[in-house]
């Protein structure tokens, strides 16, 4: 994907808006924006954009076990009509049906939302492989019917230590991309990259981040440098890259882009160097 900057001018005034142009296999740099207490998602997005100096062109939102009936009034409505891709996670179970997903994605499609869907990210922590594959068989055709993609999202730890990539992989007809949930554990992305490359699908990060409180700022920066250099090397080698989503929130740690002054600079480097 390419992000073009469109500039509007009149008299001495000007404004710039990003325009996303897609191509095969490309990926975006974005964030899972997790608002703080008494903060709206809209404000949290504005804060992130101001802090990083870059537009938020991909945003992840977790709908959990709820599939809304339509886009109106939902979090995704904030992305409609904007140069921003919605990365949506769903954990369908009791009360969720493929028909409900069809209805919701149809309303997103009519509103002009560009979306990528993650079904049960980190599924290996919650269910056996056969159950996940049944879910994919039921829901992924609905995703594809609306022209959207499905990202198979597992943790890097699970991919390596539990063999989750191989055991949960639903097949290329049901997974368009691989997204790794990646936090500092000392493990590299090499195994995940090899798995993705063998299947000819883009490799991205479903979420990533570092908490200086846990890891120390030097380790956190080193982790982010590793992520940058790893995907820069993939880009230089012409390998497929998916979306890279920074988890900017507080959940089992403080991973916000605002956490340390080094983080917005790292985000800018990702944005400027890694989008394809």
């Amino acid at each position: 994907m390419t992000v073009r900057q469109v500039t509007v001018t009149i008299g001495g005034a000007s404004a710039t808006t990003p325009m996303i142009v897609t191509d095969t296999g490309g990926g975006l740099v974005g964030a899972h924006v997790w608002p703080g207490e008494d903060e709206s998602t809209r404000d949290a997005i504005a804060d992130l954009e101001e802090l990083t100096g870059r537009p938020l062109v991909a945003r992840r939102h977790d709908y959990g076990r709820v599939i809304p009936a339509g886009i109106g009034g939902t979090d995704t409505d904030l992305d409609a009509g904007r140069a921003r891709k919605s990365v949506l996670t769903f954990r369908p179970g009791k009360g969720c049906t493929p028909e409900l997903l069809d209805q919701f994605l149809g309303s997103c499609q009519r509103a002009g939302v560009v979306a990528d869907i993650q079904l049960w990210p980190e599924m290996h922590r919650y269910m056996p492989p056969a159950q996940y594959k049944v879910i994919c068989e039921l829901y992924v055709p609905v995703i594809h019917d609306h022209g959207y993609t499905h990202t198979f999202a597992v943790t890097n730890y699970g991919a390596i230590m539990d063999g989750a990539l191989a055991s949960y992989w639903p097949g290329g007809h049901l997974a368009d991309r691989i997204g790794i949930v990646f936090y500092p554990t000392g493990l590299s992305l090499d195994i995940a990259a090899g798995f993705a490359d063998d299947r000819g699908v883009p490799l991205g990060l479903a979420e990533f981040g570092a908490d200086p409180g846990d890891d120390g700022i030097h380790e956190a920066v080193r982790f982010l440098d590793y992520v940058h250099d790893f995907f820069a090397a993939r880009k230089a080698a012409g390998k497929l890259i998916g979306d890279l989503i920074w988890f900017s929130g507080v959940r089992d740690g403080d991973f916000r882009v605002s956490r340390a002054w080094e983080f917005p600079l790292a985000y800018r480097r990702f944005y400027d160097n890694l989008m394809t």
Binding site: V8, I10, G11, M19, I20, R82, K85
Partner: protein, 96 residues
């Protein structure tokens, strides 16, 4: 000074070959377009010339003049074409 109130694309993302529509709401310092409003009255008369019914119609013509004009460009060097401009909202298109 003129100001740009909003600039909105019609889709979140485009595939190569797509047509892009950009709507710009703006407030000019010196209007580049003025609206001339005329009222046209349609009358139905009988043979004696008596008006049986009439219906006024409002006709608005946007007339360009020397003043602030919106222009659009991008870093991909696409050519943007103005589709309409009523002095406060302008619509542009291009293809990518």
């Amino acid at each position: 000074m003129a100001s740009i109130l909003s600039a909105a694309l019609d889709k979140a993302a485009y595939a190569p070959g797509d047509t892009v529509t950009l709507t710009v709401d703006y407030a000019p310092d010196t209007p580049g377009v003025i609206s001339q409003v005329s009222t046209v009255t349609v009358e139905l008369k009988d043979a004696a010339g008596n008006v049986l019914a009439s219906s006024p119609l409002t006709l608005t013509v946007n007339v360009p003049q020397a003043g602030d004009k919106v222009s659009v460009s991008d870093d991909g060097n696409h050519t943007w074409t103005v589709v309409s401009d009523n002095g406060s909202a302008a619509v542009f298109t291009t293809s990518v």
